[in-house]
Chain length 205, copies 2
């Protein structure tokens, strides 16, 4: 009855496979927190999950793509939608939530590890954009779209540049470590981005 | 005559040591361009420079710190001071020079490799801040200080936040790869940051 013509034990394949996937993801999550992506090995994940390495490589071709899946649910759950009714407050609140999720946390260590690894692993880089950047940005851009609907900022404002300024400033400090991400920093960044957008500066010329 | 009490061949040590250092740095620069920091090994650098590995490890404890030195001169030389007489134009010009130096170039590959490696190598992370971020920022902040002197923006504007917005937005696209760094992007970022600063939004409350 298999639809793809593959018959090797396929009748029990799906439920067993889901359990194996969950065991692998849980093991990877724990190891990411304990020692970080660079020190994590597929061997360790396999040992802790009680599966063979081939079970891992069948679904995740590199440790980076496995770590991405292990990271994703926890990060996205910590980035809820905000809606205060004012652009500057929305931006400050969203950046405060992001900061709480990643500054000095296991999630943040996984985040910077994944960004570092994605410079070396093209498949991970593609997965990062498709599975992290795009869904997170789709969620964040509703803040700017509501500001447009309210008439706070011009209708043809470049939403991507607004997002790049807000999160780019914060990622800059997170990744390069030259200065701390403080509440005062978050407030000033949110005010700068909101005031710039209100002035019409985000409209492409 | 040695002032530090070390006498092992010290009389000819300094000039020979400088030549060895230069040979090591040239070999590391070439390998960084050819294959990137992740694939570069100290063994290869030693072989190409015609020195023993211990000659390298004596001065550079990790390959990251060696790569930092090999990267530094070329990057800093490509970030000259700009002074157009207007903040927005200065910011756009500086970001255009940065983009020309790093987008799709060997210098850019070395740059992202070093940022990635600095997430794993604390000594490199410290070196990155002290030897790249601080001197580059000291140079860039003169753009904002001149805008303050001209009365374009308030005297108590937060220069670091202004720099983090400008370069953070650009590093965000460079490192995360979700969108391209285009001339239109650079113009809009420069306009947003300049207009936000002119509105007084960069003054801490």
């Amino acid at each position: 009855m298999s639809t793809d013509g593959v018959s090797s034990g396929a009748t029990r394949g799906r439920p067993r496979s889901d359990q194996v996937d969950q065991a692998i993801l849980h093991a990877a999550s724990a190891l990411l927190v304990e020692r970080g992506l660079d020190a994590m090995t597929i061997e360790e994940v396999a040992a802790r999950a009680g599966v063979g390495k081939s079970s891992i490589y069948r679904r995740w071709p590199t440790k980076g793509t496995l770590a991405l899946d292990a990271f994703l649910d926890s990060f996205l759950a910590q980035q809820p939608r905000v809606d205060t009714g004012a652009l500057e407050d929305d931006l400050a609140e969203a950046l405060t939530l992001w900061s709480a999720a990643v500054v000095g946390t296991p999630t943040g260590r996984a985040l910077v590890g994944l960004i570092a690894e994605s410079q070396l692993d093209e498949e991970l880089a593609r997965g990062w954009i498709e599975r992290v950047m795009k869904p997170v940005r789709a969620q964040h851009r509703t803040m700017v779209e509501r500001a447009i609907e309210r008439g706070e900022i011009p209708v043809d404002s470049d939403v991507d540049v607004i997002m790049d300024l807000l999160y780019g400033a914060a990622y800059h400090r997170l990744l390069q470590g030259h200065l701390a991400i403080t509440p005062a920093f978050i407030e000033t960044v949110a005010r700068m981005v909101a005031q710039g957008a209100k002035s019409g500066a985000a409209v492409a010329r």
